[in-house]
């Protein structure tokens, strides 16, 4: 069960378990957490608890409610958040991550409703749920070359796609083109997946993982080569200064200092 620890001027006063759906905080005695101080309104704030989540809501108090120093109207509480009401502090504890060691965490469970079951969803309803925002940036080295020239089929397209922050390797890395008309350009490998090569001809992917960077063949009749040797269908870990050849272009993988 989550709990709040009430303190003032650094002195701990009391601990409160959040067992009820609504835990009220205020100066008047009927509150679950009574804070007897003139800076606190009669009914100052409330904690709404739905199973393992809690929210703090200000009840239009005179002096307002702060969480981690910021005034709030309603706030979804995280472990170690500090609620300030007048001069009093309430620290929120909900240490579920400690349970991650046990196999029960993340286990799917059924929750029964006590209210009557809702009406069944209408059948054959064609509209899908809210779309996920598309986020991608394509950096096409071909277009970075002067636009007036005819297309150069030998330049590989390096595409990095935007994504959530990568879990990636401890060290940063990049690839530098060694041949072709874009020779000399380098591309940082910041994202978890970077595809290289020519779609439809030969494509490989460089994945960024906790243990390092790996190259894997994606499509194409033949495989790219790593330090002169064909990589086949398996993933290969990349080492500093490895030479990759793909779609007729040579490039070097290196860790950034």
């Amino acid at each position: 069960m989550a709990k709040l620890i009430l303190s003032v001027d650094g002195t701990v006063l009391r601990e409160y378990g959040l067992s009820k759906e609504r835990t009220t905080i205020g100066r008047k005695p009927h509150n679950d957490i009574q804070v007897d101080n003139l800076a606190v309104s009669g009914e100052h704030a409330a904690i709404i608890t739905i199973l393992n989540d809690s929210f703090v809501e200000d009840l239009n108090s005179t002096n307002g409610t702060l969480v981690n120093g910021k005034p709030i109207k309603k706030h979804f509480l995280q472990h170690n958040d500090v609620i300030e009401i007048g001069k009093h502090k309430l620290k929120y504890f909900n240490d579920q991550p400690a349970a991650a060691a046990s196999a029960d965490f993340e286990k799917t469970m059924i929750i029964r409703k006590t209210a009557p079951a809702p009406a069944p969803a209408p059948a054959a309803h064609a509209a899908p749920a809210a779309a996920v925002e598309a986020s991608d940036t394509h950096t096409n080295l071909r277009s970075q070359a002067s636009e007036g020239h005819a297309a150069m089929p030998d330049i590989p397209t390096v595409q990095t796609s935007a994504s959530a922050p990568s879990t990636g390797a401890a060290r940063d890395a990049a690839i530098q083109l060694l041949s072709g008309s874009a020779a000399g350009r380098s591309m940082d490998l910041v994202k978890n997946l970077t595809t290289i090569g020519k779609p439809g001809t030969q494509v490989a992917v460089i994945t960024r993982r906790p243990a390092g960077f790996y190259i894997t063949h994606v499509e194409g009749a033949s495989f790219p080569s790593l330090n002169g040797v064909s990589i086949g269908a398996q993933a290969h870990q990349l080492n500093d200064h490895d030479l990759i050849e793909i779609a007729g272009v040579k490039m070097e993988f290196f860790f950034k200092p």
Partner: protein, 274 residues
């Protein structure tokens, strides 16, 4: 163009890095365009019994009910209606079977499973789901979540109690409001969607979407769409790299070409003799 030629199907399941058992189950029947994914729960490690029963019974039941010749005689509207009826019937049958198994075996008491199943036919897709296993669709470069979770958290989001951003941090994840096999009857949610060539569909258990964000799923499918096998492997690997705290299952269905049913007198004539 047969279904098996029009659809490329890859199914993978992985126990993850925390759990000793894999209670997820995946099954595919490319010849009839059916895929089933189930995430079992409850009982004493009986989740795998429930999910195994669900995938086997539904896939086999649909295969038995499938009669290509009879189906070809129906109009499109009739096919759509029949597909939904068949799917509902097989889910009801699976539900009864799991429910009585749970009643009869003390170790299986309370077992149940989520479900997401797709039936591809005549350029449309019938999807039925129960719980928080999902169907996503990649069309062009955009990933869309097609099913809406039957979960406490989704209900809170729908009623404005919690924002989507806060929901990611919620401790109430994984609480489903519907499951297969825990009650005498169950109400699946069934929808029909049109299909376009080059679409890619992803069925997955929450072991995937709880570990990696939708943006990363989208990026992975866009980058590796020419190699669905590698895409599925990469999704599972990314989920494990991020902790792998639950079983991870994915089924990818790539639509290579359209598979509309040819109707008209010549087709019916051919059907008489096939």
């Amino acid at each position: 163009m047969t279904l098996a030629q029009a659809l490329q199907i890859v199914a993978k399941t992985d126990p993850g890095r925390v759990r000793s058992h894999n209670e997820d189950c995946v099954e595919s029947r490319p010849d009839i365009g059916v895929v089933v994914l189930a995430d079992g729960m409850g009982g004493y490690n009986a989740g795998e019994v429930a999910s195994g029963m669900a995938t086997t019974l539904i896939a086999t039941g649909l295969a038995e009910a499938w009669n290509a010749r009879a189906l070809a005689r129906l109009s499109r509207d009739e096919s759509v209606a029949l597909a939904e009826r068949l799917v509902r019937d097989e889910i009801a049958r699976a539900n009864s079977a799991i429910f009585s198994a749970a009643q009869n075996d003390p170790q299986c008491n309370g077992m149940g499973t989520t479900l997401v199943t797709c039936l591809f036919y005549d350029d449309f897709l019938t999807v039925a789901h129960i719980g928080d296993s999902r169907l996503y669709r990649l069309r062009g470069d955009v990933l869309e979540q097609v099913t809406r979770d039957h979960s406490l958290l989704q209900e809170q989001i729908d009623s404005g109690l919690i924002s989507k951003e806060d929901a990611r941090l919620s401790h109430n994840k994984n609480l489903v409001t519907r499951a297969l096999g825990i009650d005498e009857t169950v109400e699946p949610e069934v929808h029909v969607h049109d299909i376009q060539p080059e679409d890619m569909y992803l069925l997955c258990s929450d072991g995937l979407n709880d570990m990696i964000e939708d943006g990363e799923i989208e990026m992975t499918l866009v980058a590796l769409r020419s190699n669905p096998d590698l895409a599925a492997e990469q999704l599972v690997q990314a989920a494990n790299d991020n902790g792998g705290r639950d079983n991870i299952s994915v089924i990818l269905v790539k639509v290579l070409k359209g598979f509309a049913v040819q109707r008209g007198w010549l087709a019916r004539l051919k059907a008489l003799f096939s």
